[in-house]
């Protein structure tokens, strides 16, 4: 996935290194190789590759990780924006 990059410095991924027990789960579940294990603790090595899927936060046994998970989908956001303004569209798709 190295050739696909999206906007920088926007991901909501938060990591509290103090809590990490080095179990390696986040490395296992992240589809974008955002983490690496260093000296028995997770390290974020590629913050901007995070697509906010939420897998790491969901699977961290000590809640050292947090992220506002969601699908980066323009159509979804537009529909939501319109709905907030009282316009209803038929929702299909993912």
């Amino acid at each position: 996935m190295k050739k696909f990059r999206y906007l920088k410095n926007v991901a909501t991924l938060k990591y509290d290194e103090e809590l990490c027990i080095g179990c390696g789960r986040c490395l296992e579940v992240c589809p974008h190789a955002v983490f690496k294990l260093l000296n028995g603790r997770a390290k974020i090595i590629d913050f901007d590759a995070c697509m906010e899927c939420g897998a790491c936060a969901k699977n961290c046994p000590v809640t050292a990780l947090a992220v506002t998970a969601g699908v980066g989908c323009a159509a979804g956001l537009l529909t939501e924006w319109l709905r907030e303004r009282g316009v209803k569209l038929k929702q299909d798709g993912c």
């Binding site: 990059r5 999206y6 926007v10 909501t12 589809p31 899927c53 998970a69 969601g70 323009a74 159509a75």
Partner: protein, 291 residues
């Protein structure tokens, strides 16, 4: 196919347990790539939705997995305590919760079901390649038809208007050319931009769509022309580019690397500009037709 436990070959108490969604395509791939082996297949109820979308929605999730494990009485059926899950199911499943509630350990095996045989042969160790998400030309190409149908539906009113206005003001050929130009711009954003994704300047999808839109304008300029007056030409340029850019931006919903925060930011930055450009194009055309 209904959710529940299935046997592939003649599994016994030592056979691996693979968890999947009741999404026809992934079920078929899992079954065909594992043909000739002896395994248990635990299918979760995801209502026909693929693992990735179902995990996001939560139907491929901790609760459903725990329920199916209990229902199938897996603990009596197999001696080991390991479940093999697709990596893309992880956003819905809390592995430690599953362990706590069922006693089974969750192993996130591979992203693609087609890598499962290699994973099993590799002593159930995930290699870097099995964990790497790809978005190849082919992956992108298969997404396009559905997107095209959606896009066609949304521009249909505009197509009809362009056709009627063109026909009415300048004759039938102009109406047809207008439709071709608009359809081409839609294709530039919906099909060409996704196909050329890694080679177009970015990271903004709108920018990628602007580039393919301008390319299409270039093609129009040397074939059917962009308009009969400078105002009309400018209007066509702006309009076609905005249409292409919008549809390219829309493709963010299909990609496995665009974050919600990123798309939100791009929407705030780019969408108002697109609307202004689109309106300007309409006004220019209005002036060209009246003047």
């Amino acid at each position: 196919m209904p959710p529940g436990l299935y046997a592939i070959g003649t599994p016994d108490q030592n056979s691996a347990v693979i968890v999947t969604a009741n999404y026809k395509l992934s079920f078929d791939i899992v079954r065909s790539s594992l043909a000739g082996r002896n395994l248990w297949l635990l299918v979760l109820e995801t209502f026909g939705i693929n693992v990735w979308c179902a995990a996001g929605k939560g139907s491929f999730g901790t609760e459903e997995l725990v329920r199916r494990v209990d229902q199938a009485e897996l603990a009596n059926l197999v001696q080991h305590r390991t479940l093999l899950l697709p990596i893309l199911g992880a956003p819905g499943v809390a592995a430690h919760e599953v362990s706590r509630q069922t006693g089974f350990r969750v192993n996130y095996a591979t992203i693609r079901a087609s890598d499962l045989p290699a994973y099993l042969d590799n002593g159930m160790q995930t290699t870097e390649a099995m964990r790497e998400l790809t978005f190849s030309l082919r992956d992108r190409a298969v997404l396009i038809p559905v997107e095209l149908v959606q896009a066609l539906k949304s521009i249909l009113p505009f197509l009809i208007s362009v056709f009627l206005i063109g026909w009415w003001t300048a004759g039938l050929p102009s109406g047809v050319y207008g439709c071709i130009a608009l359809l081409g711009a839609m294709l530039a954003g919906t099909a060409v931009a996704p196909l050329l994704l890694p080679w177009l300047p970015g990271p903004s999808f709108t920018l990628k769509g602007v580039v393919t839109g301008l390319l299409w304008c270039g093609i129009c300029a040397i074939t059917i022309g962009l308009g009969s007056s400078p105002l009309a030409v400018l209007g066509t340029l702006l309009g076609l580019t905005a249409v292409s850019a919008f549809f390219a931006f829309n493709f963010t919903g299909c990609t496995p690397f665009t974050s919600l925060s990123g798309v939100r930011k791009e929407m705030q930055l780019a969408l108002p500009k697109l609307v202004v450009v689109g309106l300007t194009a309409a006004i220019l055309w209005g002036c060209a037709l009246l003047g």
